[in-house]
Symmetry: C2
Subunit: 179 residues, 2 copies
Amino acid sequence: MNEDTPARKSDPALDAVRDEFVVQWGAMGSAWGINRTMAQIHALLMVSPNPLSTDQVMEELKISRGNAHSNLRELIGWGLIRGVIRKGERKEYFEAEKDVWKMFCTIARERKRREIDPALDVLENCKEASKGLRSSEAKAFHTQISELSDFVKLAGGAMDQIARSEQSKAARWAQKLFT
Amino acid sequence: MNEDTPARKSDPALDAVRDEFVVQWGAMGSAWGINRTMAQIHALLMVSPNPLSTDQVMEELKISRGNAHSNLRELIGWGLIRGVIRKGERKEYFEAEKDVWKMFCTIARERKRREIDPALDVLENCKEASKGLRSSEAKAFHTQISELSDFVKLAGGAMDQIARSEQSKAARWAQKLFT
DNA sequence: TCGAACTTTCAGTAAGTATTGAAAACAATG
DNA sequence: CATTGTTTTCAATACTTACTGAAAGTTCGA
C-alpha cells in the first residue's frame, strides 16, 4: 500500500479553522436535509488545495471506507466534485469545483431536475385528471392546481435560465434587484 | 364531542384526485427532505374548500392526534397555514394560504431565515478566523471562504428582495428572464 | 367550581437513514 | 495467471427522526 501525498508541514491554526468549517458545514447540511457526511466531504474538498484520495478523506473525517466511497460517488452524481487520476498512480483522487458561481449553477440545475420536474409531473397529472369534472368544487380544485402548476413551471424555467447564464449576466440582474 | 361540519355530498371522482394529490405531494415532500406528513397536511389544506379541524385532518390522513397536532403547529410556524376560530365553536380550524405567490414568498423568507442566515454565520466566522493567517495556503482558504460568503450574502439579499416584492414586479422579472 | 370539549405534551415505539467493516470484484503489473 | 493495490458492494447495526396513544393541561359555560 502506497503512502498518499506526504503530509505538508501545515499551519496548525489553519487546520483548526478548516476543520471548524468542515464540521459546521456538515451541521448545516444536516439542517437542510442533506446527508451530513456528504456535506462534510464537499466542504473538505472545497477548501483543500489539492485533490484527496478516498483514504485521505476517510482519515480526515474519521469515517469508514464504505461511507466515504458512497458519498464521494453521490457528490460526483451531483456534479459537485470530480475524480482525477494522476499518471503513474492507481488511486483515484477527488477535487471539488471551486468556482462558486459554477457550483451554484450545478446545484440549481440538479435540484430542478430532482425536485421541480417531478413536482410538475404530479401537478400536471392532477390538473389533467380534474379537467373534466364539473362541480364547482372541482373547478376550484382545478384552478388551484393550475395556478400551482404554472408557478412551478415558471420557477423551473427561471432556474434553467439562470443556470445556463454567465456570471456576468447574473451580476447584472443582482444589480437591478438592488436598485 | 361535536360532529364536524357535516360531510358534503362530494364528487367521488374529485375525492380520488384530491387524495392522489395529497399522497403525491407528501411523497415529494419526502424527496425534498421535508416531513412527509407535514407536506400532506399542507397539500390537504391547500385544496380544501373550507378550513379543517384537527380531527378532520386525522381522519383524512389516518394519523394520530399527536402527529396531526405537531405538524399543524409546524406549518403555522412556517406561516403556511393559520388557525381560524368560528364563533360559537370551541374547535380550532386550519386553512392554508392559497395564493401561490404569497406562499412562495413565505417559503423564501422562511428558508432564508432558517438556512441562509445560519450558513452566513458559519462563513463569516471562518472568514474572520482566517483573516490574520499569512501562509499562502491560508490566503487561498480565506479567498475561497470569502467568495462563498459573498455569494451566499448576495443570494440571501435576492431572496429578501423577491419575497418583499409584489407579484406584478416578479412577473416583470420573469418577462425579462425569458427574452 | 364542575365537567365537557378541546389542546398539548411526552414516553415508548416504529420506521427510516446512515455507517461500518469485511468480503467480493476489478485492474494493473510483472 | 498470480499478486497486490484499489474500488465496490452489502448485510448487519447504529443512529435519527417520525408517530402513537394516553395522560395531563387548558378553556369555557352553566
